[in-house]
């Protein structure tokens, strides 16, 4: 999958592609979205993470006007949710995708090209471009009924990137793909980012999100349990401190910054109350005359963080 550097479809300059606050949705007595805030800036790739049933797909559908919200406000490409004009510069791959089996791949894309109002003269080129982008260049004239599940998903990706939209929303875009296909999708997202397209990636695959997103929102049971950059998320909440000697004074200093999780004669593992306090901790140790041999903030994998935040699976608790 290769992408050339060409400008994306016009959107209102400076407008956040997605800005949503306090999204709330309940089905009968079951709350699916409970005050969700979600923001995607221009050119930003945001991962929406969460266990099955956390409310990710409902949030995406709400942004597309397919699910009616009980409360909250949201704009997509500067227009209120449900405004059809905003969808001119928006590409979407649904989680559950199926395309008319009686059409060939090219015809499916031509239907979408008409729907987004591409001029007739530009349609063939845009269709070819989209097919090439997702690795279906040689299969565009085959009927969709003969496509494998993975090929249908690629076709879905092609419809999502057709016409160079300003915002692309991908709901579990690699669910039907093999490892090579997954890698190609990651490359595609990088390429979209490279040409300034904002991407909201809805996924429960941590590795996928880790490799392409610069910002993540983690949902659990309809609530946002974390929103921030990946660096922030994965940055150590723990720091390993190696001094000349861990004495009572050093312990007192360290305890002023958090809990000592483990300790021996010269090294302590400190769970910090404030992740950003590492420089202050260093300054405090030095000012008390302790020689610092090493001060290492520990990186945690996204998986560790995710499991800590979400705990047990939310399946059945939301939708």
């Amino acid at each position: 999958m290769t992408v050339t550097e060409e400008p994306v479809a016009p959107s209102r300059a400076g407008t956040a592609p997605i800005s949503a606050t306090g999204l709330r949705k309940a089905y009968r007595d079951r709350t699916v979205l409970d005050g969700v805030d979600l923001h995607v800036g221009p050119g930003q790739v945001v991962g929406l993470l969460g266990p099955n049933g956390a409310g990710k797909t409902t949030a995406v559908k709400a942004l597309l006007g397919m699910v009616h919200l009980d409360a909250g406000t949201a704009t997509v490409l500067g227009r209120p949710v449900g405004d059809t004009a905003a969808r001119r510069a928006l590409g979407y791959l649904p989680e559950q995708f199926q395309y008319p089996g009686w059409l060939d791949g090219r015809q499916v894309l031509e239907v979408h090209a008409r729907l987004i109002g591409l001029p007739a003269a530009e349609r063939p080129g845009a269709v070819t471009d989209a097919l090439r982008l997702v690795g279906l260049a040689g299969r565009g004239d085959d009927r969709v009924a003969g496509y494998s599940k993975g090929m249908q998903q690629r076709l879905g990706l092609a419809t999502a990137v057709l016409g160079r939209p300003a915002l692309v929303i991908l709901d579990e875009p690699t669910s039907a793909l093999d490892p090579i296909g997954r890698r190609e999708v990651r490359d595609l997202i990088h390429a979209l980012q490279g040409r300034g397209t904002a991407v909201l990636l809805n996924s429960h695959l941590l590795g996928e999100v880790e490799q392409v997103c610069d910002h993540v929102v983690i949902l659990d049971r309809g609530r946002v349990v974390h929103s921030g950059s990946l660096a922030e998320l994965a940055a150590g909440a723990e720091v390993r401190v190696t001094l000349d000697r861990i004495d009572a004074d050093a312990v007192a200093v360290l305890q002023g910054f958090g809990r000592i999780a483990a300790q021996d004669t010269d090294t302590a593992l400190v769970a910090l109350d404030d992740v950003s306090a590492v420089p202050a901790l260093a300054a405090a140790l030095v000012s008390r005359g302790h020689g610092i041999r090493a001060l290492v903030p520990l990186q945690r994998s996204l998986e560790d963080v995710f499991v800590d935040l979400v705990g047990t699976t939310g399946e059945g608790e939301g939708r």
Partner: protein
């Protein structure tokens, strides 16, 4: 118009048009054969003009009865799968993420199905009347009005089927519309029997069911216009054709049928706009 084009392509590729066309051609060939044989037999007595008129009228009206039956089922089957399967399969989500309102999508889809069913019944009615005219010189009271009423009947069924397909699965929506269509048919017979037996209660039940679903009432109105003037002039209510009307449809009935179709369409649109997809 993109959705209209897509829907037509769907109908073509799902063999609806091909199968419908083949069955219809077979039906017309059969009708031509039966009509020719039957009319020739009636014409063996050239002095009895009323017998010839009766033979031609009965065969034409019953032939068109079969046509409206085929068209009604086509309308029900198309409309009852208009919405729910599109949502369940996920085909609709990709389409509605485009700058296309739900109302526009539904109008184009249901409109295409209504147009196909109406076009079918108009073409088939004209073909049957054309055969009757060619073989027997048959002329109906008001074929134009009859065809309009038949088209209105399938539009009513498409509107009802579409609305139900927003709320129910394709099978459930189809079953409900066919059950209502059947109830209307029985009510039509009850109304006819009430008329013949001079039983007002039976007639009232028939009228009440016609309000619930006016499909059979529209057919009976159309079937009156499809009869030949010579046959109507000499036929009493008791001797009329079974399942066919013996009077022109009332203006309130036609107005009710139009309002009924419009009402179901508005309800379908309201339900669809409010529904979570």
């Amino acid at each position: 118009m993109t959705v209209v084009r897509l829907t037509l392509r769907e109908a073509a590729n799902r063999k609806v048009l091909l199968v419908g066309g083949v069955i219809s051609a077979a039906f017309l060939a059969l009708f031509w054969l039966g009509f020719t044989v039957g009319f020739d037999q009636a014409a063996t007595n050239p002095d009895d003009a009323s017998e010839q008129a009766a033979a031609a009228t009965i065969m034409t009206v019953l032939g068109l009865y079969a046509v409206q039956f085929l068209a009604a089922f086509m309308a029900v089957l198309l409309a009852s799968s208009a919405v729910a399967p599109e949502i369940d399969s996920g085909r609709l989500h990709a389409i509605l993420a485009r700058p296309l309102s739900r109302t526009s999508w539904l109008a184009q889809r249901a409109g295409t199905f209504a147009g196909l069913a109406a076009l079918y019944i108009v073409a088939m009615s004209l073909a049957v009347l054309g055969i009757a005219s060619a073989v027997a010189g048959y002329g109906a009271i008001a074929p134009g009005r009859a065809v309009v009423l038949l088209a209105l009947e399938v539009v009513v069924l498409v509107a009802l089927g579409t609305a139900l397909s927003v709320r129910l699965s394709a099978i459930a929506a189809g079953v409900v519309v066919i059950a209502l269509y059947g109830a209307a048919w029985i009510a039509g017979i009850m109304e006819l029997a009430g008329n013949v037996l001079d039983n007002e209660s039976l007639e009232r039940i028939g009228v009440a069911v016609s309000l619930l679903i006016p499909s059979d009432a529209l057919w009976r109105g159309a079937s009156y216009y499809l009869q030949s003037p010579a046959f109507v002039a000499v036929t009493s209510v008791e001797d009329g054709i079974p399942f066919a009307g013996n009077a022109a449809p009332s203006a309130p009935l036609v107005a009710w049928a139009v309002a009924y179709a419009a009402g179901w369409w508005l309800l379908a649109n309201r339900w669809f706009r409010r529904r979570d997809l």
